[in-house]
Amino acid sequence: MNNQKNVIEIVDLEKSFVLPHTTVKAIKKCSLSIPKNSFTIIHGPSGSGKSTLLDAITGLEEPTAGSVIFNSVNLYSLSNDKRANFRANNLGLVYQTNYWVASLNVLDNVCVPLFLSGYLPHEARPLALEALKKINVDHLAKQGPDVLSIGEQQRVSMARALVSDPQVIIADEPTGSLDTTNGDAIMSLLLSLKTDFNKTIIMVTHNLEYLPMSTYRISVKDGVVTEDEQEHGLSPETKEKLKHYMSDDDDKQIQDILNNRSSNSTSKSTSGSKAEDKDQK
């Protein structure tokens, strides 16, 4: 495998949109490196250019200048088809609002990323079921996606994002439509993907509450992309959440996180050291 430290390198990236009477610079020239196995949060106010940056990273929006290099592959030097193939194989996507192929059941919807990289149904379905089991929503497999609650949809979409075992999970405001219970559940799932599955998480959010969870932060404001002053390792709050996530009584984990939030980190667990193992060097 690739031993590079960074999974994504953004070099001199610029994006402007040409409108009839003016040109909007959505992203001003910037360079970034997203470390492998990081929990990267891109934050900034609405309309700041976060989504444009994310679209450039996912290979959906060709930048006006500069390049996006994913594991030494320059995304925009690839043909459209190759780039589509790259997305299917390397990225797991979670959106704020979930979209589904309405005619397929949950299991087959989770199969879609596998289908797109060439799997046949009988090959894809066991893997999709496995992914649903990981997120603990395998009981929804035969349902139509439209009957699920928003929280369930978001969890299924997590299964869909990780079914092809991509290196990078990209989450665009994944908690934006959720209440805090479901939001925290999704956040702990994202964290577990990073810690347990060695995924690199790139999350876009305007919710500053989640910032402490990150290991790497990028802020976008009026098209200016800057790396935040990086702390070493996880913040104390993150450790707290991780610790709860990996507490022995995992049925209570979500409740614990909620309690944790409401009581403002008063409860202490004895097994906090586990989280420290995951700290960045």
Partner: protein, 430 residues
């Protein structure tokens, strides 16, 4: 770096084994398999049952109307052809002479025709205007001195008696028209009866007449055939050739393929003979019916036009409804051509299913109408069964191909639009 991998997990959701599988999975194929696209198209059609059903019904009506009307046209064409041409071999050229005194059809002409390329057989006949004596009265008739090839080519239907055998010099074959003239209702009654055949010497006769007086012979009726509406009798030509008749009244030239008829005819006509072929008649019949069939297909085409509009409407609505779905597929890694194919498969499924059902229903309807027509004709005295509907396999295959092509044409625009959907715009947050 990752020590957690070896630690005991409390969470039952997370399998530690997963940690070992860090490389991405490979299916061995790069892009979506067409079977998966087909499955997705099919599921989408099933998902929108009512709309799919209505669209298919439209195609069924359109295709069904075309198939019904065209097979009616083809059936009529077949009935007419059978009536006019009968079982005559179409690949024959009938050679006669318009100037019997100078241009003669004789043994030399027969051997000459035989040597032409693509000619497989040559048959010759004498024919004479004659009087037939039966029960003290004479009937005018034409007597043929034929050979078995001639009879084979003419394809007459045996009505009574033994197998048609022309080789016996003492026997004669009569036709049903002759029986009608002499007033015999049961064809079996005449079998074995002796007829007196008299051929009068006539200067205007096309045949070079070797006898000084009339030719007269008593012949026994061996069988009865159906050969047409004029009185005709057939006997062995040896009877005439041994006496010294040299000129034939007609020669039939058999050509191996109908495409070669024109060339052989040209060759024969260059020797100043007159030619005629059932192919001419057939061509005229086909000409008339090809126009009729086009008119019938055009009438059915009106229904098809409406079906096409229905299909276009369905596909366009499907496109508009699924903008976000398509945006999702593209963002997850579908290629433009995958999206296009998704729509193309849907369109082909719609039109092909409609076509199959339409063809089957048209066949059933044709069968029903034909049964009704045959029964009606039977009650009016037509004893023979007939079929005014003819749905050959090639028509079914053409119609299927036509339906698929229509599907492809109709889907071209929606598919192109679908493949151009920008996932960013489609999935943009409000």
């Amino acid at each position: 770096m990752n020590k957690l991998g070896s630690k005991q997990y409390a969470s039952k959701n997370i399998s530690p084994k997963a940690n070992n599988r860090s490389s991405q999975r490979k299916s061995g194929r790069d892009y979506i398999h067409f079977r998966v696209l087909l499955l997705m198209s099919l599921k989408n059609l099933v998902f929108k049952k009512l709309r799919t059903t209505l669209t298919i019904v439209g195609v069924v009506i359109g295709i069904g109307a075309i198939v019904f009307l065209v097979s009616l046209g083809l059936g009529l064409q077949k009935v007419v052809t059978e009536q006019v041409i009968g079982s005559k071999s179409v690949n024959t050229i009938e050679v006669t002479t318009s100037k019997p005194q100078s241009i003669k059809l004789n043994k030399d002409s027969v051997s000459e025709f035989r040597n032409y390329s693509n000619v497989t057989d040559v048959s010759k006949t004498y024919s004479f205007a004659s009087k037939i004596g039966y029960k003290n009265s004479n009937t005018d008739a034409i007597v043929y001195g034929a050979d078995s090839t001639f009879l084979d080519l003419s394809g007459f239907r045996l009505v009574a008696g033994d197998q048609v055998n022309i080789e016996n010099e003492d026997s004669i074959i009569v036709n049903t028209a002759f029986l009608d003239t002499v007033g015999i209702s049961n064809p079996k009654d005449i079998i074995g009866t002796k007829l007196t055949v008299t051929i009068l010497k006539d200067k205007n006769q096309a045949i070079d007449f070797p006898l000084t007086g009339d030719f007269m012979k008593e012949l026994k009726v061996s069988s009865v055939i159906d050969s047409g509406n004029s009185n005709e009798l057939f006997t062995s030509q040896t009877t005439f050739s041994t006496i010294g008749f040299r000129d034939f009244s007609q020669i039939k030239v058999v050509v191996n393929d109908s495409n070669n008829i024109a060339a052989v005819r040209k060759q024969i006509e260059s020797k100043a003979f007159t030619t005629n072929s059932p192919a001419d008649t057939l061509q005229q019949i086909n000409q008339v019916f090809s126009i009729l069939n086009i008119l019938l297909a055009a009438a059915g085409g009106i229904g098809m036009t409406i079906a096409i509009l229905g299909m276009f409407n369905t596909l366009t609505i499907s496109l508009l409804e699924r903008t976000k779905e398509i945006g999702l597929l593209v963002s997850l890694g579908a290629r433009q051509r995958d999206i296009k194919r998704l729509f193309i498969f849907e369109a082909i499924l719609l039109s092909a299913m409609g076509a199959v059902i339409g063809i089957i229903l048209a066949w059933v309807a044709g069968f029903a109408v034909n049964t009704f027509a045959v029964n009606l004709a039977y009650s009016r005295g037509v004893k023979e069964s007939f079929s005014v509907f003819y749905l050959p396999l090639w028509l079914a295959i053409y119609i299927m191909a036509f339906a698929v092509i229509i599907g492809l044409v109709v889907v071209a625009f929606p598919a192109k639009r679908a493949s151009r959907i920008s996932p960013i715009k489609a999935l943009r947050r409000e």
